[in-house]
Symmetry: C2
Subunit: 267 residues, 2 copies
Amino acid sequence: MPNFRLLVEYDGTDFEGWQIQPGPARTVQGALAAALEHITGVSVTVTGAGRTDAGVHAEGQVANARIATRLAPVDLQRALNAVLPRDVAVREVAWVPDAFDARRHARSKRYVYRLWTGASRSPLRERRSLWVRSSLDLEAMREAGRALVGTHDFTSFRGAGSAVCGSVRTLLRLEIRGQLGGEVLLDFEGTGFLRHMVRNLVGTLLEVGRGRRAPAAMPALLAALDRSQAGPTAPARGLTLIHVHCDFPLESGGLEPERVDGGEPLG
Amino acid sequence: MPNFRLLVEYDGTDFEGWQIQPGPARTVQGALAAALEHITGVSVTVTGAGRTDAGVHAEGQVANARIATRLAPVDLQRALNAVLPRDVAVREVAWVPDAFDARRHARSKRYVYRLWTGASRSPLRERRSLWVRSSLDLEAMREAGRALVGTHDFTSFRGAGSAVCGSVRTLLRLEIRGQLGGEVLLDFEGTGFLRHMVRNLVGTLLEVGRGRRAPAAMPALLAALDRSQAGPTAPARGLTLIHVHCDFPLESGGLEPERVDGGEPLG
């Protein structure tokens, strides 16, 4: 039964997160499994690299599924995108070796959190950004960010209800970019993230940006190993999973030379 | 009764256009009037510079309303944004002279139509863009566009059901920009637009981009004065009203030095 790698984009607003739940919850994993079952006639298990929370978006979620189909990747992609609801689509499908597992082979993930710092709320940015009324000291946020990059026990930024499986993670990179017009992007890359970790980091960095917390206090906050000392959890809607790097042969392609989403589409 | 100028942003997806309609239709003008009535306790007439269609968005719609309130513009703005639904907001409020009328004093409007030319549909662009599967010849589209700029009788691009009030308009500018990653923006500026004119121009330019219509055929198409010879009406969701230029003293400000939405919000 061929193993397929899926590159998945979704607008998380109307999903109750990635993971299938008991009951009628609308989830991305559930939508993909239902579409694959509709196409193949058999039940399919979809494994995702990361379990995004309700309201979190993805440009580049990675999943894999072993699917009893003779469809080539490009045809499976077309069939999927015809059947999937409008707020989820598959950007790329590729054959991968049977041993490939999106969750086990995910080596790093990149998340971007979007802020809108205009003078009034912005309906056109409403689904993708958090509106921050106060002006932000981006330099102070960057200084705080530098103390967070590296390998740390991130217990202070760990959401309640996490499964117990260690709390040491490596934050590889944290860039804070102010865009022309009032958008601010917080760009995180790490080997793995605890539950709500990115949103808790954002909530804490926002306190720094507003001058309510000193950048120099970050090492002590990490050392405290105490969630109650960090800032609040920023809302889900500002967060997007941009990219998952999988450490497996042929990371971004497949076993076939065919690339579904390659090249420059413009003439 | 002071006259206020409103700069309005909305996500048009869930509105049945700008203009109040009989019956329960959800309209932007209706939402603004209801919010103003809620705040002031009296019925208010809101005049918009342009009547955007159902599904069309705005970053910079301009409206005015004579409102029986002693609230200063900045306070009226805060009250409005607290009461308005999430998909509409007022970016700026200013006092304007009593004679100011958003519709009569609108001298030019800028619309942008967004295309997404990636290999598969994009859920995160779904509300704002039209997905175009085929690759587009942007140079051919630009050549066609150059023939459309200027003062012409645009009857060939006029939607059915227009009120009879002349069909000569001046298209001041038409820029077609391919963005990195596969987005294409069609940027129109004109002194006025007939009903569906921008969307009919886009539908026709898409035929040119796909090689189904020659750029050199544009002058004859304009001269035909025949809607049936032009391309189809492109869907509303790709269209955004970006800016309205009003020719009146103190165009972008008000009578007071106070600017509600000015300056650089970043620290």
